[in-house]
C-alpha cells in the first residue's frame, strides 16, 4: 500500500525555530545570522561590529565553530556575553543548538544577538534558526561567481556584505558580473562593500544593521547612562 505523508522533512528543525522566535519576541531581542564561506571575514566583521555597535545596543554573540573556540576567543576582549557552540564536525548550525545557546545568554538584558555560522555557503541556508535576518558575506578573492553558484543563500539574505574590497586591485573580480547576477537573483538585496582590514565601508554596514535592529517591531532596551551592567568594549591596543 501507498501512504501519502506530505510531511516537511525539516519539521523538527522548523518547529524549534518557531519556539526560538517566541523566546526572542518575549524578550524583545533581534537575532541575526551571519553566513559565508570559510575565511570570508565573518569574525573580522564581527570584531568591527562589536566595536562600533556595542555603544548603541546591548549585544550578545553565538559563535559557531566546527571544532574549536578560536573565533570566540578572538571576541572575548569586547567583554560581551558570548556563547561558543561546536557542531562537532557538522557543516551548519541548527535550531536545537541555538535553543540551547540562548539559555546561556542574558536574554532579558539584550537588544540583539549575532550568530556567526559555520563557514559554508550551502548547508547553513537550509536551517531556519528562528533569526530575523540572514546576512551573507562574500569576499573579493572568492571570485565574482558565488551568487550564481550558491543562489539559495543570496536569495534568502536580507543584506549582502562584499568584504575584502582592498584586494580588488590584485585579484580578478568583475564587479559588473557580480552585481548583474545579484540584481537578477534578488533585486531588492542591499549590498555593502567593506574592507575589515582598512575599515572602508564598515560604517555603512553599521548604519544598515542599526536601522535593521531599530525597525524591528519591538521595544528596545536602549542603553542609557545609568545602565550599570554594560561594560564598554576594552581595546587590546
Amino acid at each position: 500500500m501507498i501512504i501519502e505523508l506530505n510531511q516537511n522533512i525539516m519539521d523538527s528543525n522548523d518547529s524549534r525555530a518557531e519556539e526560538i522566535r517566541g523566546i526572542l519576541a518575549k524578550n524583545r531581542v533581534v537575532m541575526i545570522n551571519i553566513i559565508s564561506s570559510p575565511g570570508s571575514g565573518k569574525t573580522s566583521l564581527l570584531e568591527q561590529t562589536l566595536e562600533k555597535l556595542g555603544a548603541h545596543f546591548k549585544l550578545g554573540i553565538i559563535e559557531g565553530d566546527v571544532n574549536t573556540n578560536r573565533d570566540a576567543r578572538r571576541l572575548e576582549r569586547f567583554g560581551l556575553p558570548i556563547t561558543a557552540v561546536n557542531t562537532r564536525g557538522a557543516c551548519h548550525l541548527n535550531s536545537t543548538i541555538i535553543l540551547k545557546a540562548l539559555g546561556k545568554l542574558p536574554l532579558d538584558n539584550l537588544d540583539c544577538i549575532i550568530i556567526e555560522n559555520v563557514g559554508n555557503l550551502v548547508c547553513p541556508s537550509e536551517f531556519d534558526l528562528g533569526e530575523h535576518a540572514k546576512i551573507a558575506v562574500s569576499s573579493v578573492p572568492e571570485g565574482d561567481d558565488k551568487p550564481q553558484k550558491y543562489p539559495m543563500l543570496f536569495r534568502q539574505a536580507k543584506c549582502l556584505v562584499l568584504n575584502k574590497i582592498d584586494l580588488l586591485p590584485y585579484v580578478p573580480f568583475d564587479r559588473q558580473v557580480f552585481y548583474r547576477d545579484i540584481d537578477n537573483l534578488n533585486p531588492k538585496l542591499p549590498v555593502i562593500e567593506t574592507s575589515c582590514t582598512t575599515g572602508e565601508g564598515v560604517d555603512s554596514w553599521i548604519e544598515w544593521i542599526k536601522g535593521f535592529i531599530t525597525n524591528q517591531p519591538r521595544r528596545l532596551n536602549q542603553i542609557d547612562e545609568g545602565f550599570s551592567n554594560f561594560r564598554r568594549p576594552e581595546r587590546s591596543r
Binding site: M1, L5, C91, C123, Y150
Partner: protein, 120 residues
C-alpha cells in the same frame, strides 16, 4: 553535507510512520526536493543507506529504497500574474520586468509518500 541531516530526519519520520501505520515492511519512500535546495542525489542516497541500517534502527526500513524527485522552480509575477522559470537564475519577470516576484514551487523539501506492507 546537509544531506546527512536531511537523511537523518527522513529516517526519523519513516520510523514513526512505520509505528503509526503498523507496517511490517517499507519498500520505497518518495522524497520531493525543490531545485533550489541544492541536494546532491548521490550524497542523500548514501547518507540514507548508511542511516537506515544503523544498529538500533527497526528491521522494517532496512531494505527501503529512497526515490528522489527534483521539483523545478516556478516563479510567479505579483504584478502581471504570469508564471515563469527563472532562466539563468533571473527572477525578474520576463514579461513586464517587475522585481515583485514570488517563488511558488521548487523550494520545498517533503516526504511525499511511503510504500510498504501492513500486518494484515
Amino acid at each position: 553535507m546537509h544531506e546527512f541531516s536531511i537523511a537523518w530526519n527522513i529516517v526519523e519520520i519513516i520510523t514513526k510512520a512505520v509505528e503509526d501505520n503498523r507496517l511490517i515492511r517499507v519498500d520505497t519512500i518518495t522524497v520531493e526536493a525543490g531545485e533550489l535546495r541544492q541536494i546532491v542525489p548521490e550524497s542523500l542516497e548514501m547518507a540514507f543507506d548508511a542511516l537506515k541500517t544503523e544498529g538500533d534502527r527497526s528491521e522494517e526500513i532496512k531494505n527501503c529504497r529512497l526515490k528522489l524527485v527534483i521539483i523545478p522552480q516556478v516563479v510567479s509575477c505579483n504584478d502581471c500574474e504570469c508564471e515563469f522559470y527563472p532562466e539563468d537564475l533571473c527572477y525578474l519577470c520576463p514579461q513586464c520586468g517587475s522585481i515583485n516576484t514570488t517563488v511558488t514551487e521548487g523550494e520545498g523539501l517533503i516526504i511525499k509518500s511511503i510504500e510498504g506492507e501492513t500486518a494484515e
